[in-house]
Amino acid sequence: MSSHREAPEISKDPVADSTDVYAFVSPDRPHTVTLIANYIPLQGPAGGPNFYQFGDHVRYAIHVDTHGHGEANITYEFDFSTDLADPNTFLYNTGPITSLTSANWNRKQRYSVTRVDGRGRHVLGSGLLCPPCNIGPLSTPHYAAALARPAIHRLSDGSRVFAGQRAEGFYVDLGSIFDLGNLRPFQNLNVFANGLAAAPGVNATKFLNVHSIAIQVPISRVTAPGRPVIGVWTTASRQRVMLRSADGAQDIQAGPFHQVSRLGNPLVNEVLIPIGTKDFWNTQHPVHDKQFAHFVAHPELAGLLPVLYPGVFPNLAALVKAKTPRADLEAILLTGIPKGIVPGFTNLTGPVQADMLRLNTSIPPASKPNILGLLGGDAAGFPNGRRVFDDVVSIELRAIAGLTFALVDSNYKVDAAAGQVTDGLTPADLGTPYLNHFPYLGVPYDGYDQPAH
């Protein structure tokens, strides 16, 4: 997955487990950028009575590097707290929740937004209400209009923010990919296929929810003059010490916040970083990513593809055998793509190797977006930032399979399959559509209707 349950330790702490980051010029408000960080993976919509919520003791952050040095120049911090109206009922709600102020809603969650920049800390909003989880037609009627839309708040600097449950927008065939790297559309060619015929992909995240923190900010608020390319990533941090109470009192949290999860480019920690290093990677800042550059330059998956699909990737196999560093992947994931590689495009941030989503904010939204982003000729899509609908699985599979290596070595002959490899999914495989407005991810599935009868 993009980064769902990607590391052993963070997989045990789902409220702090970042799953996806998106950064794009807002298509309906192109003077703004939208930054989204998702947490709490693979939520079954019926997961009550304690429906999902953000961690009250987790500090969530979205960082923006405006100067290409792998450090945050601007950070938006999000701190949550929960109000329990009636502790003497087991119910999340004691009647229909018809508004954010409904007395029937027993467990509300609020949050503050603080911007940290070179001029200090600025609280942009506090006491902001999250919407409830989408429970079902009796508990949360008219969810989108009555509960989700009113949970979009305007901050004191004019930005807009939303924090709450959304439909998972990342589509991926997990069941196949984690079954020995299988890709259903090509599984007839897999070395372990044993007679399996090619088949369409299956979206494993269909009908699942996630929790999103989304903020829409004027471009001028997150860029430096003359530097339209920004780096974006999210982190979740916990205080160093947690002492469990033995007498029913609140557990004690103490000490400085310590980063336990981070995410910039999709699938980096998931696929490129080895399992014994993943949780350490989560604690590191992008500025220190040179220590992981070897895993990008020599991705394990590039060596596995020719083994799993014998004879399908002969040129990739030769590239791996020659131990040729993948300068294409280093550019896409660690530095940005310099001018002259893709005509008319750059999202280079400089020589510092740092895993960040790099968004060139001077590129306007596409009138006809291509889910393959830059590989599909659409410079407004991944790896120029990331939109909610971008097919990052296919893009990165193709890149790792060698499709983008020809951009840095004109003598390299790309394997025919490298331009076709995919898990076989598109946004048509979602269970609910994206929104065409903030916060762009779809209305969360409710637990009454999903799983379907």
Partner: protein, 116 residues
């Protein structure tokens, strides 16, 4: 100075005031035990909720021996002490969102003894 066993982490007999007598040298056994744990998690964090004033007094004793001012003593955040490396006398104090590292072999030794 409250008893150390208020938080259930130390026996009653260990509850003498910290800082008003010369510490006994830690036993070789206890030092080895703590040192072996240092670097990963160290020994289990020693929770001294309720003895904030006393620990702060010890911390201030590093600079002198003056008693706590009312302002210093009025802190309500719990203080959690981690003897990170008893042999080296490395002690981390966690309070609020801060972490303070002390280097005090005597104090570390007394905390280890109190925990036994």
């Amino acid at each position: 100075m409250p008893d150390l066993d208020h938080s259930g982490v130390a026996p009653k007999h260990a509850s003498k005031q910290i800082g008003d007598s010369e510490p006994a040298a830690p036993s070789r056994r206890s030092v080895l035990r703590v040192a072996a744990g240092a670097g990963a998690a160290g020994i289990a964090a020693t929770a001294l909720s309720g003895v904030v004033g006393g620990m702060a007094a010890q911390a201030s004793a590093l600079k002198g021996t003056r008693p706590l001012s009312p302002e210093e003593a009025s802190g309500t955040d719990p203080l959690i002490v981690h003897v990170r490396d008893a042999a080296a006398g490395e002690i981390d104090l966690f309070r609020g969102t801060t972490q303070t590292r002390l280097h005090d072999r005597d104090l570390a030794a007394r905390l280890v003894r109190a925990s036994q």
